[in-house]
Subunit: 305 residues, 2 copies
């Protein structure tokens, strides 16, 4: 075997899996399509990871990265394109090479869902964004919409407000799904919310100029001028490597695991957002730790738990 354990994805779950694997004497390679950090790096502020009352996603993930790197071999910018059973283990194919591994942890996370409306793809990077932390600073003093009503959407709206953007939330329902503390911030900062409303089209040339909005209650359609639109309407689990191995997912595509992060295929574990449910950084980390420790069974190592 080239490695005992292959971890696919270097977000919160992958980093923690690396820490626990290394400390348990497991030889591991961690693959990431980019430079690591996962979707957490898109979060402008994180206030619920215990030990850090207020930290940016980029800073927290940088700390985890620094923490994890001594414990495993990190292959950044190396996308895993296929995983196949191979003898007692697995063959992992990447864009650069192939590797054999005794066990696998899939920690590939999710990607932001698109609205799938006209103009969205054409104007991406020209006013259409999926990441306030990445792009917010281009919109100071400008008029921006945040589409969505969950924690991420509300966090982004508050962040953009703090950057001096003129922010409006657009939400398809009549109340926010975000946690109470965040919903209250929206009130306190007088961030307007357009309720019961969906975006039907994003217009502009060469950059975003207007949104075509439809009120779901009245059916009324209006045009409103915006310089930018931040889309935060949920995520799509990156579970195609899992499904190609025959691993079971739920109806939304999230990988199903037991309480020890075992998937339905022996020797393959999953951790973090790709497994669905609560999808917090703290739960992703716990799942990464659990997966790494439980993989000791697969790897025939003595196991203290």
């Amino acid at each position: 075997m080239d490695t005992e354990l292959a971890v696919i994805g270097a977000g919160a779950a992958g980093y923690t899996a690396a820490i626990y694997a290394g400390r348990a004497g497991i030889d591991a390679i961690v693959f990431d399509t980019g430079m690591g950090g996962g979707l957490s790096t898109w979060a402008p502020r994180i206030e619920n990871y215990p030990g850090f009352p207020d930290i940016s996603g980029v800073d927290l993930m940088d700390r985890m990265k620094e923490h994890a790197e001594p414990y495993a071999d990190f292959h950044y910018n190396e996308e895993v394109t296929a995983i196949e059973p191979d003898g007692d283990g697995f063959k992992v194919t990447t864009a650069k090479n192939t590797y054999t591994a005794g066990a696998i942890i899939i920690a590939t996370g999710t990607t932001p869902r698109q609205l799938d409306v006209p103009g969205e793809n054409k104007l991406r990077g020209r006013g259409v964004s999926y990441c306030a932390t990445c792009d917010g600073s281009f919109f100071t003093d400008k008029k921006v919409a945040v589409v969505g009503g969950g924690n991420s959407a509300v966090n982004e709206a508050i962040y953009l407000h703090g950057l001096g953007c003129n922010v409006t939330l657009i939400h398809r329902r009549d109340q926010l799904r975000a946690e109470e503390a965040l919903a209250q911030e929206v009130d306190k900062k007088d961030i307007p919310v357009i309720w019961n409303t969906v975006v039907e089209e994003i217009r502009g040339d060469p950059v975003v100029e207007t949104l075509a909005l439809k009120n779901r209650k009245t059916g009324e359609t209006t045009q409103q001028a915006f310089d930018g639109v931040f889309i935060s309407v949920g995520e799509t689990p990156q579970s195609s490597l899992a499904t190609s191995l025959g691993i079971e997912t739920d109806s939304h595509g999230y990988i199903q695991t037991d309480e020890r992060q075992r998937t339905t295929v022996n020797g393959v574990y999953a951790a973090g957002d790709v497994t669905g449910d609560i999808r917090q950084i703290i739960t992703a980390c716990a799942e990464g730790a659990t997966a790494a420790l439980t993989s000791m069974h697969t790897l025939g190592k003595s196991y203290p738990f």
Copy 2:
């Protein structure tokens, strides 16, 4: 109700439950028998909590405490002595007062069973440890004893051996209680076992230097040099409040929960070491977060997950 949620125990699980409860708009009281921090504060160094490559247990728990305190009402030095059903919720009796609460999270942890021998308390954290996973890596290339003969002790001995420690098992009986597969590992790895022997005293200044051992068959007493001693003679989950409510525990007394930390009694959740299994700080935190969020169901609050 005096409070929506009563959290029993201010360790890693209780602190995280407080953070998540507060941010979800849940009014919570957290009770602790002491000043909080739980068993984590016993770990001299913690290297596996993501984001902190090397921190003392006391420092990490102080950070979590500071993080959690704005989110709930903390009642330190107030032991909960009874929990009873009361109308739609529960009556929580403490050494100081009684409170009504809509939901309960039991996060009371475990206490390691001690040997109760001279030197044990004085040298705790100075060579005396109750957790090989936590502290083992500090003893690579050093001579350590593991006291005990059950699965945990043998697992810890094998784990320490794997880390490159010079390990000796000390067991009071003439054969291990651990399962056969584990006992065979001890043979295979040539880990010496001192049979029929108990530790009578732990000596050293300022760190562990020798153990005073007594052979229970011959009555002979000897001194042996060790750099560390891992005491693994069992842990006692603090689950008496749960059992008095009729909550199911496993045969060792750990509270049984589902994946959302629900116990077998509606409205009562459990999180952290008292639920058994992997018992790491990161998993305790995740369970605390999960319990707090899931308690929103019990409390009739809108629930974003």
